[in-house]
């Protein structure tokens, strides 16, 4: 019985593939060990670890948003630009309109959800494939962000407490020895909430079902279009959180930022064991995938590897990470 309940704890965390995730975790550990061995004094310092955590927040949250979409066997190329759009809109709410902070935060998330809804409607009503619908949205949102801001960043300097969203440290206030920034906390809270939603709610169930066999879902009498829109809206809302994180971190909304982030996010998701053909995936895996990416990049920088070689190695390691993930699966 105790064995059983332990299993279910793991299952809860990992969506029932505990062993595989443990192994994915192992490759993350391996990376960390290698870099620690090569540059002990620079890599394994508190500052650098916090730096790694911090640098994973935005991509991590975007990757979580993408995980839902990818499990439905869709894809969202607009997440990076949507994040920026939400950041810009929070700037509009807080700086231009002078709304109070909580409203601005809420507003950014709502904007994300609404934009996600639009993508979802384009996919379900206009029957445009997700790749194209979100590619179109990517271009469109980039233009809109630039239009809204007049291609100039919006600065949050006068918004009391805005930079604390990502940079403050609630944990550090309580345990001064652990100055973990709030952004990292937010990443893990979003991850935990999303893991529960994915595995324990109807939304999560339909996410998997849609990715597994959409026609079967339709024939089961489920309103496929409605749920798809909801999933894209939900994912958009998470992009809103990412927008707040990056805006708070930079204390500004940079209207031209964000393109290209979707590829990093998707890479993290796939490295984390979520299948691009849908039906399979976990949030824990995605988080591990995001950390594999950021540890890799940080480690290469710490070792002062030339930037060209960083690109070559990142490319290689993305391929190899997914390859070893396949190996693990095959062995199972």
């Amino acid at each position: 019985m105790s064995d059983d309940s332990q299993k279910s704890l793991w299952a809860r965390l990992s969506g029932g593939q505990a062993k595989q995730k443990l192994l994915a975790f192992a490759s993350l550990l391996a990376l960390i060990l290698i870099f620690t061995a090569l540059k002990p004094d620079a890599f394994m310092t508190q500052d650098n670890i916090i730096g790694i955590l911090q640098s994973t927040t935005v991509i991590g949250v975007l990757a979580i948003a993408s995980t839902f979409i990818i499990i439905t066997s869709g894809i969202d190329l607009s997440v990076g630009v949507l994040m920026t759009f939400c950041a810009v809109m929070s700037g509009v709410f807080l700086v231009n309109w002078g709304l109070p902070l909580p409203l601005g935060v809420l507003g950014a998330i709502v904007v994300g959800a609404l934009t996600g809804t639009v993508s979802g409607l384009a996919i379900t009503r206009l029957k445009v494939p997700p790749f194209i619908a979100t590619l179109g949205m990517m271009m469109l949102l980039k233009g809109v962000s630039l239009l809204i801001t007049g291609a100039r960043p919006i600065y949050f300097n006068d918004i009391e407490g805005f930079d604390q969203i990502a940079l403050g440290s609630l944990i550090g206030d309580i345990f001064p020895a652990l100055p973990i920034p709030n952004g990292v906390l937010i990443l893990f809270v979003v991850a935990a909430v999303c893991a529960v939603i994915l595995n324990r709610t109807a939304l999560g169930r339909y996410t998997f079902a849609l990715g597994s066999n959409e026609e079967a879902v339709r024939l089961s009498g489920v309103d496929v279009n409605r749920w798809k829109v909801i999933i894209y809206a939900f994912s958009g809302g998470i992009c809103g959180v990412a927008g707040l994180l990056i805006a708070s971190r930079l204390n500004s909304a940079q209207p031209a930022l964000g393109q290209g982030y979707e590829l990093d996010a998707i890479a993290a998701v796939v490295i984390g064991g979520t299948s691009l053909s849908g039906g399979v995936g976990t949030i824990l895996g995605t988080i591990i995938g995001a950390f594999i990416m950021s540890v890799l990049i940080n480690g290469l920088r710490i070792m002062s590897v030339a930037q060209e070689w960083q690109m070559v190695l990142t490319g290689l390691i993305i391929i190899l990470a997914v390859y070893t993930d396949n190996l693990r699966r095959a062995k199972k």
Partner: protein, 504 residues
């Protein structure tokens, strides 16, 4: 008495196909109404209209005598119309329980979270009622086609429908499971449920049906009582008389051994399987669902990696790294799951027919010889009477039985020495079935070595010169085709090592 559900003057066209023309049909409460007709007669199309999958072009649908417009599968469910589709519509990555209750999940506290325990309990209760020894948490992808079919049936039952449509529910089932299904059907009948039963298996129809409606080429032919002699019904279906073929078993003992399999092992699914097939011989494989027959066929064909064993064709050892090795050695394999493994569903009929043999239809090793492809495609369409508007019709749009014929055609064109037919007549109508039997016999007479895997014992008995019986991955017996009886084969097929049933 007003009919539970009735249709009048119903018509439906697809691009290039008039699937239904002025069809009528009615179903009373508490009856089993069989719907019969050749492949492509329009049975599934009619039922899909009732289930809200397709919308009709014209005509009327009456529910309890009142006209209704069934707009979606969800709407059909709300009208208490349930359907078991001919093709499996299941989510491979979800568990059996999750599949069955998709869209109707029990909610736990606060109505926010799913109550997985309740879900599994409900499913277990359902399975218990069906005497189905399957854990509700099993992933669908890990089940055999037969077990998946049982899950589909369970799902349809879970709706507590007043109208239950069963579109070839037994295509993948063995006798024991069919018995179970019939028990359930009788029970539902007594509860006043009206059941539409579509099957190509005549004996089933006679046992379970109350009335029979026959369709041909999208038209309504007649509705008759189930006592009507089968020959008459078949004549209505095909529009002609069928000649019953006589079984003769040629002596092939002196012929060359074309296929030799020695000590084949693959995990628990195949355990030390050995057999030979001679030129001109038809070897039957009998067994219960999950006995490992498909596994053996796939292994021999190189589709799955094996742990150990040897396969020889013409005495030559095969490398068997990929199906290509088997095909080059002259083996053809007709899969039991045509949708996933048999057809390039998005390609047209002639492309599918020439896929394995494409290198033969090339000029200068590169360019397609289109006239030749066209000719051979037409030849096959004529020979197997494949019902298709044209050779360039997309295979996905053919009826199930005609798809199966396309798969057969592609191996006929490839001209193999060894042909493995895995459930060759699954979903095939009586007319076509007898044609395929004739074909198999002809191929054997031409000197090919043939393996027939079938879950229909009469089929195995009718076709085979020699029968191997499998259980739990082992060969449990070999009988000559003349001496074999259904009872004898069943005894061998249930000779288990352990008492535990291996379902997945």
């Amino acid at each position: 008495m007003t009919a539970l559900i009735a249709v009048k003057n119903l018509s439906k066209s697809f691009p290039g196909v008039k699937a239904l023309q002025d069809v009528q049909f009615d179903l009373q409460a508490g009856e089993v109404h069989a719907l019969m007709g050749e492949n492509g007669a329009g049975k599934s199309t009619l039922m899909k209209i009732l289930a809200g999958v397709y919308t009709r072009d014209s005509g009327e649908v009456l529910l309890d005598g009142a006209p209704v417009e069934i707009t979606s599968p969800a709407h059909a469910q709300s009208l208490a119309i349930g359907i078991i589709h001919q093709e499996l519509y299941l989510m491979q990555h979800l568990t059996a329980a999750q599949n069955i209750f998709l869209g109707r999940e029990p909610k736990g506290r606060m109505g926010l979270f799913l109550d997985e325990d309740q879900l599994n309990r409900d499913t277990q209760a359902l399975f218990d009622r069906m005497h189905l020894p399957l854990p509700p948490q099993t992933r669908i992808g890990d089940l055999t086609v037969a077990a998946q079919q049982m899950v589909e049936i369970a799902k349809a039952l879970s709706f507590k429908s007043r109208v239950l449509i069963m579109d070839e529910p037994t295509a993948a089932l063995n006798n024991a499971e069919i018995e179970e299904l019939f028990r359930i059907i009788r029970q539902l009948k007594s509860e006043g449920v009206g059941i539409v039963y579509i099957s190509h298996k005549m004996d089933e129809i006679q046992r379970i049906a109350d009335r029979i409606t026959v369709m041909r080429d999208g038209r309504y032919i007649d509705t008759v009582p189930a006592q009507t002699p089968m020959a008459e019904i078949i004549a209505m279906m095909v529009g002609r008389k069928l000649e019953a073929s006589q079984k003769t078993i040629p002596d092939t003992s002196a012929n060359e051994v074309l296929l030799e399999v020695r000590g084949l092992n693959r995990g628990r699914a195949i355990r030390d399987v050995s057999f030979t097939v001679r030129r001109g011989e038809i070897l039957g494989f009998a067994g219960l669902m999950g006995a490992g027959r498909t596994e053996v066929a796939r292994a021999v064909f190189g589709a799955d990696a094996i742990d150990s064993g040897e396969v020889r064709v013409h005495g030559k050892l095969l490398a068997l790294k990929a199906p290509r090795d088997a095909v080059q050695a002259g083996i053809g394999y007709l899969s039991e799951d045509r949708k996933h493994f048999g057809l390039a569903t998005g390609m047209d009929v002639e492309s599918n027919i020439t896929l394995p043999s494409l290198s033969r239809w090339l000029k200068w090793g590169m360019f397609l010889n289109r006239p030749a492809i066209h000719t051979v495609g037409q030849e096959m369409v004529d020979k197997l009477r494949i019902k298709t508007p044209s050779l360039t019709q997309v295979a996905r749009l053919l009826s199930g039985g005609n798809q199966q014929k396309v798969v057969i055609a592609k191996w006929l064109v490839q001209d193999c020495d060894v042909l493995i037919f895995d459930e060759p007549t699954r979903g095939i109508d009586v007319g076509a079935k007898s044609e395929i039997y004739k074909l198999v016999n002809d191929l054997a007479a031409q000197g090919k070595a043939i393996i027939v895997i079938s879950s229909e014992l009469p089929e195995v008995l009718h076709l085979s010169h020699r029968i191997l019986v499998m259980c739990e991955g082992r060969v449990t017996g070999e009988v000559s085709g003349l001496e074999a009886t259904q009872e004898g084969l069943m005894a061998l097929a249930t000779r288990r090592e352990s008492q535990e049933a291996v379902l997945h």
